[in-house]
Symmetry: C2
């Protein structure tokens, strides 16, 4: 059947099939070539992701390993420890190690090829609580993003530095983030374009993936059934 | 793993993951409970669908049968025979028989439970060609819709009469159809709501499907890891 692309992450992944979301855009883009599997878990951090990974991905022996996986955690890990969201916080060193462990798991179970497309990243999350103090800060997110880049380099997997990428655009805070954490329509476009580009660099694109059945343009009006006899 | 819902149809299905599309809305709705598998093939009619069905659905022995399938053909079958799109035309009797055969195939291969949710339907398609004569007419679509309803009743599977449903709303032509054939944002909402309702009647809803991992609200801030020890 069709190759699968798994999207593994937190709420930014779970809500990626909302209107204009980067997940649904990926599904639309690969409508005839690949299945995009939504595996987003709101509120999860890398520590919890490690606890559930065997229940998220196909078993090694299933032969159903995806051709690419996006690993998209960090916004919850980077929550400020002594605020309301502190129970989501994961210390920086552990965060990096957890990303290593997730990638190692994916490689071990055949869910990630050595040239796979794992895209961990983190970015600006600064939702306020009632105290008026932020649960997340851009500075904290930046520290996590840096460790994410380091972990990806050490694991030899592709990574997208959305934290830096987004801040290159004036007014990025409101343009790309709805509430300081979750993506706007334009933010979704940035993520979609970056993921598509990264997949393409990894050899996964409309040019390389076969369409699963004859395309409209390949059907001969004078003998339409011919192309279905493979 | 998660239950799967297959969307099998023509371009109205293939483009259902475009922004605000009914397919992506289904994925978003079932984000933590079911995988929505996109199997839309632009330009296809029921005759061609029959030719490819074994390559679209999991084999009977795979144990990977979907919990529900939408079968959404008719717009191409209903093309006017002696116009440019005539090679897509399928005579009315054959159309009805083809729907029977598709449902029989799905039942035989375990891809459709007897209480499954197959939603064949057709609706108004009247794109013009250069001759100025329509390739599709609402009257023709209506005849196909009627046979679709009859076939579903004979097969004992649920059906949505979108042809009738849409025309109950004043200004439906422009409100629900972009080009006389494909759905607008509001048209997508109608399809989404109808499909969700039909799935619910068949026992497939957020109330009945388990979430695949602990939900955010189930995680105890004082002992977050507890809920991951299943």
């Amino acid at each position: 059947m069709r190759p699968k692309i798994y999207l593994f992450g937190d709420s930014i992944t779970e809500e990626s099939f909302s209107p204009g979301g980067w997940g649904s855009s990926l599904s639309h883009h690969f409508a005839r070539t690949a299945d995009v599997m939504l595996r987003g878990y709101s509120g999860y951090n890398t520590r919890w992701a490690l606890k559930v990974k065997e229940r998220v991905f196909p078993a090694a022996e299933s032969g159903d390993a995806p051709v690419a996986v996006t690993v998209f955690f960090g916004a919850n890990d980077a929550a400020v420890p002594d605020r309301c969201s502190g129970f989501q916080h994961v210390p920086l060193d552990e965060y990096k190690q957890n990303l290593h462990d997730i990638v190692a798991f994916l490689k071990r179970t055949g869910n990630l090829r050595s040239d796979g497309s794992s895209q961990p990243y983190s970015k600006d999350p600064y939702i306020n609580n009632l105290s008026g103090l932020p649960e997340r800060t851009n500075e904290s997110a930046g520290r996590y993003a840096k460790q994410c880049l380091a972990a990806a380099a050490e694991c030899g997997v592709p990574v997208i530095d959305l934290w830096t990428k987004m801040q290159q655009s004036p007014g990025w805070q409101k343009a790309y983030l709805r509430d300081g954490l979750h993506l706007t329509g334009d933010g979704n476009k940035v993520v979609f374009e970056e993921v598509i580009g990264q997949l393409q660099e990894g050899g996964i694109s409309l040019e390389t993936l076969p369409a699963d059945l004859p395309l409209w343009a390949e059907i001969d009006p004078n003998d339409p059934l011919k192309c279905f006899e493979k």
